[in-house]
């Protein structure tokens, strides 16, 4: 597994859907532990994680989203999500989806592994910045 972060092909559909005024915000946050074992590196063709840990975290239940400004007004979509580990784990993959189960994957990432123990809370901030 190598560290990589991508906007998925299914994420393109989410963007055009949202421009059209339909679809669902990709605010469901998932974290997993299986990328290293599966020797998977995030790719634009991803549709799911290798081994999701627990359920996806939903907006209002541990996830907040906002438009943010990096260089130009509201050029960034920001998602902040938190998960609390129930046991000793090493997180190595993250995904953003537009549904609590199934749905479409917006962002896929195989990350620098994060080792935690039971009771640790990991807070992730994901920023997707657009430019012209």
């Amino acid at each position: 597994m190598a560290a990589a972060t991508v906007l998925c092909n299914t994420g393109l559909s989410i963007i055009t859907n949202r421009i059209k005024g339909s679809g669902t915000e990709p605010a469901y946050f998932a974290i997993g532990t299986g990328a290293t074992g599966a020797a998977r590196t995030a790719a634009v063709t991803d549709t799911t994680l290798s081994s999701q840990s627990g359920s996806r975290v939903a907006p209002g239940a541990g996830v907040t989203t906002a438009q943010a400004t990096t260089d130009k007004t509201n050029d960034t979509y920001r998602v902040i999500g938190s998960v609390t580990a129930g046991s000793t784990l090493t997180y190595d993959e993250i995904g953003l989806f537009d549904a609590s189960t199934s749905g479409n994957m917006f962002v896929s990432a195989t990350i620098t592994p994060i080792s935690v123990i039971a009771g640790d809370t990991v807070q992730f901030t994901i920023k997707v910045k657009f430019a012209n």
Partner: protein, 53 residues
């Protein structure tokens, strides 16, 4: 004129908050940049350019 609109950068930052309240800031754990160069490469090139001018 070329028009290009798209995702320029994705960053994922993380911090671990232990049960006792200790915060371990891990910084950027995942990143996409719309370039073949890394941010470190760009910073190095910027520094080099400054040295040359």
């Amino acid at each position: 004129m070329k028009i290009s609109i798209g995702v320029e950068e994705i960053t994922i930052e993380a911090k671990v908050i232990s049960a006792d309240g200790t915060v371990r800031d891990l910084g950027i754990v995942g990143q996409y940049l719309d370039t073949d160069l890394t941010k470190e490469d760009l910073l190095a090139l910027t520094s080099l350019a400054e040295d040359l001018t």
